[in-house]
Amino acid sequence: MIQFQHTYKTYVGDVCALKDVNLNIDKGEFVFLTGPSGAGKTTLFKLISAFDKATSGSVKVAGYDLNRVKPTEIPYFRRRIGVVYQDFKLLKNRTVFENVAIPLEVLGFKPTVIESRVAEILSRVSLSNKKMSFPEQLSGGEQQRVAIARAVVHQPGVLIADEPTGNLDPTLSEEIMDLLESVNAQGTTVFVATHDHSMVQRRNKRVIEIDGGEVGEA
């Protein structure tokens, strides 16, 4: 589902963010990516979500070769993945329902289908009673649950989460991880970046470590 082969990413000024990355994540896996700040986690995720291009080597995600993909194909690729960020990236002037409905609107679903799918996913993340609330009326944990709901409402094959618990307290972090595991249980490949080692140890999942742009299995 996610494959890196001899992948390098160098920024201006010869700053090498990723060095010869070789990585393979199969369909349905739940994988943690750990490493200190500045190790290259975000760069790796930007390559996976086609927000950046590798300098050399190949990156294949959900059947797309992202180093060869045409710009016009990128939107169609992104419809096959879901992305969750540490800062939630919710639209403040839209309700919870409207935020979660965005991917379905983009995919052109009918309003009745959108209504039922959003209701279903909000129920899964236990936010049915907040669907008319605005993000600023929610707690951090609730906002992240909305972000996860938005990322999976269109049933993507891959969910990548970049420090999804970075802004949350330990209790809420566990809650979010439980939610990600339940998404994984439905068959979605989940790839989570975190530097919370204690949580990674408790979850007993596959762990990939990144440091100085180099990747290795823990």
Binding site: T42, K46, S49, A50, F51, D52, K53, P71, T72, I74, P75, Y76, F77, R78, R79, R80, V83, K89, L91, K92, N93, I102, P103, E105, V106, L107, R150, H154
Partner: protein, 312 residues
């Protein structure tokens, strides 16, 4: 898609009403000037057309014109589609008309036995309506030039001076109007573009989220282009309504204070076609102005570029 665009427009309006009202007001002023130019041009042309309908051409004939030459001239003119009617005025008729006209002003002239008959025979030609307007004026000049070359024709008169001058003023005004309209439309692109740029800045996060969930560039840009189109169309509509109100006021002034010119019945508001043209200009300038502004906001990699520029 229309529903999405409309919702997005309402959202912009709700969160940025001051900028939206300012933009529409400035655009409205621009389209009001465009409408005023179109209105003045239409009415100047209308006057030219009316006066053109009253134009008569007089073909003065040589004293020694042969009968067959006269017949040929008359037949030729009658078969011309630009000509409505041809009347032959003999030397005697011309002298009679002249003496009658002079008699009303100087009765002593009627008894002057020394008055010979210097007046030539002529053909009085009524021209088809609208001939002096636009390209019809060229046809009128061509017809007169052609007649002058014919045997038996001494001179041709059709009030060349004032028609040429007036037509030239109208044509010059028409050309200046197009220039002014072009400049104002270019200005309206900038006004719309500026407002849309502001809207884009306000919706940066929304654009990023849309890109994140796989919106195509068209899906990202369409609401902004729709917003610009609504600006243009709304402004042009308001400008036409305002111009109509001002026109009605001016018509009343022309009716009461300038009655002697007889303008009130001649002044007309823009035709439906011209109003539709101005509305189309509004719509297109709004759409084009916003498209020029948003065409590169969503390229697939733009969110990444923004993140890099922000040092993320």
């Amino acid at each position: 898609m229309l529903k999405i665009c409309w919702k997005s427009f309402l959202r912009s309006w709700k969160h940025n009403a001051t900028v939206q009202v300012t933009t529409i007001s400035v655009l409205c002023g621009t389209f009001f000037v465009i409408t005023a130019f179109a209105l003045i041009h239409e009415n100047l042309n209308g006057l030219l057309s009316r006066w053109g309908q009253e134009v008569q051409m007089t073909v003065f004939l040589d004293d020694d014109i042969k009968l067959e030459e006269l017949d040929s001239l008359k037949t030729g003119l009658e078969s011309d589609s630009s000509v409505k009617e041809v009347t032959y005025v003999s030397k005697q008729d011309a002298a009679r008309q002249f003496l009658n006209q002079m008699g009303t002003m100087a009765p002593e002239f009627l008894g002057d036995e020394k008055f010979g008959n210097p007046l030539p025979a002529s053909l009085e030609v009524s021209l088809a309506s609208g001939l002096s307007k636009g390209s019809g004026f060229d046809r009128l000049v061509g017809l007169a030039d052609g007649l002058l070359k014919k045997a038996g024709v001494e001179d041709v008169s059709y009030g060349q001076g004032w028609i040429e001058n007036y037509a030239s003023v109208v044509n010059q005004f028409g050309r200046s109007s197009w220039f002014v309209i072009f400049v104002l439309l270019a200005g309206s692109f900038l006004i719309v573009g500026n407002s849309i740029r502001n809207s884009v800045n306000q919706k940066r996060e929304e654009i990023e989220v849309l890109e994140l969930v796989g919106a195509t560039p068209f899906r990202v840009q369409a609401p902004f282009i729709f917003e610009g189109s609504v600006f243009g169309l709304l402004s042009a509509s308001i400008a036409i309504v305002l111009a109509f109100v001002v026109f009605q006021g001016q018509s009343l002034v022309a009716d009461s204070s300038l009655q002697f010119l007889g303008l009130s019945t001649e002044l007309q508001f823009l035709s439906v076609t011209k109003m539709l043209l101005i509305l189309s200009f509004g719509l297109l300038s709004g759409a084009l102005g916003s498209w020029l502004c948003v065409r590169s906001i969503s390229t697939g990699w733009s969110a990444a570029s923004r993140q890099e520029s922000l040092g993320l």
